[in-house]
Amino acid sequence: MAGSTLEIKDLHVTIEDQEILKGVNLTITGGEFHAVMGPNGTGKSTLASAIMGHPKYEITKGSVLLDGEDVLEMEVDERARAGLFLGMQYPSEISGVTTSDFLRSSINAHREEGDQISLMKFIKEMDAAMDYLEMDKNMAQRYLNAGFSGGEKKRNEILQLMMIKPAIGILDEIDSGLDIDALKVVSKGINKLRNESFGCLIITHYQRLLEYITPDKVHVMMQGRVVKSGGPELAQRLEAEGYEWIKEELGIENEVVGQKA
């Protein structure tokens, strides 16, 4: 199967009457890994959340298309079933619902009504994915993210990613709060999905994640826009030199959203 294409065109997003994204353009195609970097408060999470349909964000202009279909017209669950996945920076805790029940509901939601996954097959797949991510099996019977450590939550997001196998994954700071071993494991999980039919947008602050997951393209966000794009070498330069040189190059005084250029 050839991969899907996610096209973000001139996206403007407002939250509580404040414009956060001011015209983002980005295209991701199956088989490609893109990294989005940028200082705090520059709109990275806003971009990820708005694509998925977070209720707080209002799209005031622009479009998001998945294989030509208008994503912004879809409900959040339709977006997911169309092939989008958002690994969240701060996943919700839902007590009373076990991780395993939730995962099975998600997988079944992605399948046709007459084609639900059998319990046996589900458990087999989940066990395999948990082994791969070196997760404690008891986690499956614990309530979804409830009392999970920061690192456990992130692993749980990748577990879901591996089992749902979306067309396009958007991972918001999947590396934050991970120790080096966990970082390796999580990277291993993401790399396992690397193929023609999977495209990924990885939001991160650190080059260290990109040492394990080599991006095809790197984008830098400032003031609610993508201000620079390049190859993996761009991430390396950011790691070595920080963001100052970009700001100088572009004449940006304050990179945070809401500031004048």
Partner: protein, 435 residues
């Protein structure tokens, strides 16, 4: 407040009812006393709920029920409550006011366990029943409804577990109000002697949507030294029934009484669940769930009173409110003077599903001793939109996402229900109500 509703049943009736049942003199005179007190005592006054207009007088007092020859033939809403695969059923089905079905494993009979309908118990173990009936837990003169209950008691069960007897399999009572107008004046007594333990689960089922009926239920649980009682219940009275249910426990030294109550009535309800921790080191967990819907009004009190030293009481109430239902959740932890090193904790959570519903969480701590610990948490809120977003972002529909969150919210209590079939049925009732 003056009560002008006349009593529906008079002394002549009560007298002949008692005689027809061949009741001992002590009970007959207690019934008369109840009738008299009912004329003078005030109604119970649940905090923040006005019950003065509720129907407590329009009902039918008597209805017989047929014997149940085979459990397989029961209607589905009763059958789902049964663990049909288990041969060793300890089960009583009260059909209207008759014993429709009764079984108790022979090994328990041999150990001296009594599990029988209340009238057989009164005939066969009169002294034992008299020792506990409206004595240590509930009193006849607490209010007009406890008095009326005594006068008109028309069903219930008696459970007695002798010293050192540990019962593994649960005892189950099903109160099937097949007649749509018949009242339930059930009296349930559970006595666990020293070092004994048991699990008891009861179900109330009625299907009266429009027919008026009344339930006035008193349950008394006595846990003697070092005894352990797990008490589960699912109340499922129809919309036409006004319910007053008073479940009370008394725990002596080192004893434990745990409650898991699924309060799923569709009509107006006053529910009081009170445990007295008399003995040192006694413990109680009182967990309840409820779903309010339609225009029903409900008032729930969960109260644990600490007398013994080092006693522990934990109250957990979870309620989901929809339509224009309204509920008050009173959580009361009371530590008496002298109950040093006791711990009183409580948590009340109300999830609102509609703009018109009302939910009040009313946590109260009354502490008359210095050297104790206590805490409470209460919240009334809506479904968190971020939780919905998270679930929907995994392809789950809004409807299914809400369903998962509501089940999750009620799970801490539902999971405590001891019989698997009853737990599953409670889950199904919740499903039917919230969605």
């Amino acid at each position: 407040m003056a009560i002008d509703t006349k009593l529906p049943y008079e002394k002549d009736y009560v007298s002949s009812y008692s005689e027809r049942l061949n009741e001992p003199e002590w009970l007959k005179s207690l019934r008369f006393q109840g009738l008299e007190l009912a004329n003078t005592l005030p109604m119970p006054k649940p905090d923040k709920t006005n019950i003065s207009k509720w129907n407590f007088s329009d009902f039918k007092h008597e209805a017989e029920g047929k014997k149940i020859d085979s459990l397989e033939e029961l209607p589905n809403d009763i059958k789902v409550l049964l663990d049909l695969e288990n041969e060793n059923k300890n089960l009583i089905i009260q059909r209207n006011q008759s014993v429709g079905y009764q079984s108790l494993s022979s090994s328990l009979t041999e150990k001296g366990v009594i599990f029988t309908d209340i009238f057989s118990a009164i005939r066969e173990h009169s002294n034992l029943v008299q020792r506990y009936f409206m004595k240590d837990a509930v009193s006849i003169d607490e209010n007009r409804l406890t008095a009326l209950h005594t006068a008109l008691m028309n069903g219930g069960v008696f459970v007695y577990v002798p010293k050192n007897v540990v019962i593994e399999d649960p005892l189950q009572a099903i109160f099937w109000q097949e007649d749509l107008e018949v009242a339930s004046f059930n009296h349930v007594i559970v006595v666990a002697e020293e070092n004994s333990s048991l699990t008891y689960v009861e179900n109330y089922v009625s299907n009266n949507k429009t027919e008026n009926a009344v339930a006035n239920i008193v349950t008394e649980v006595i846990a003697h030294d070092n005894a352990k009682v797990s008490f589960g219940a699912v109340d499922n009275f129809g919309a036409g029934t006004t319910v007053y249910v008073n479940r009370r426990g008394v725990a002596y030294r080192d004893a434990t009484i745990d409650w898991a109550l699924g309060q799923m009535n569709d009509g107006n309800t006053v529910s009081e669940n009170i445990t007295h921790l008399i003995g040192d080191n006694s413990i109680s967990h009182a967990k309840t769930v409820t779903v309010g819907r339609g225009d029903q009004t409900q008032n729930f009190t969960a109260k644990i009173v600490h007398f013994g030293q080092n006693s522990e009481g934990y109250i957990l109430q979870h309620g989901v409110m929809k339509d224009s239902a309204s509920s008050v959740f009173n959580g009361i932890g009371k530590i008496e003077h002298g109950a040093t090193k006791s711990n009183a904790e409580q948590e009340s959570r109300v999830l609102m599903l509609s703009e018109n519903a009302r939910g009040d969480a009313n946590p109260v701590l009354l502490i008359d001793e210095d050297d104790v610990t206590a805490g409470h948490a209460a919240s009334v809120g809506r479904v968190d939109p971020l939780q919905i977003f998270y679930l929907m972002s995994r392809g789950i529909s809004r409807f299914e996402a809400e369903r998962l969150i509501i089940h999750g919210f009620l799970a801490p209590v539902v999971n405590e229900i001891p019989i698997k079939a009853v737990k599953e049925q409670l889950t199904e009732v919740i499903e039917g109500k919230v969605l």
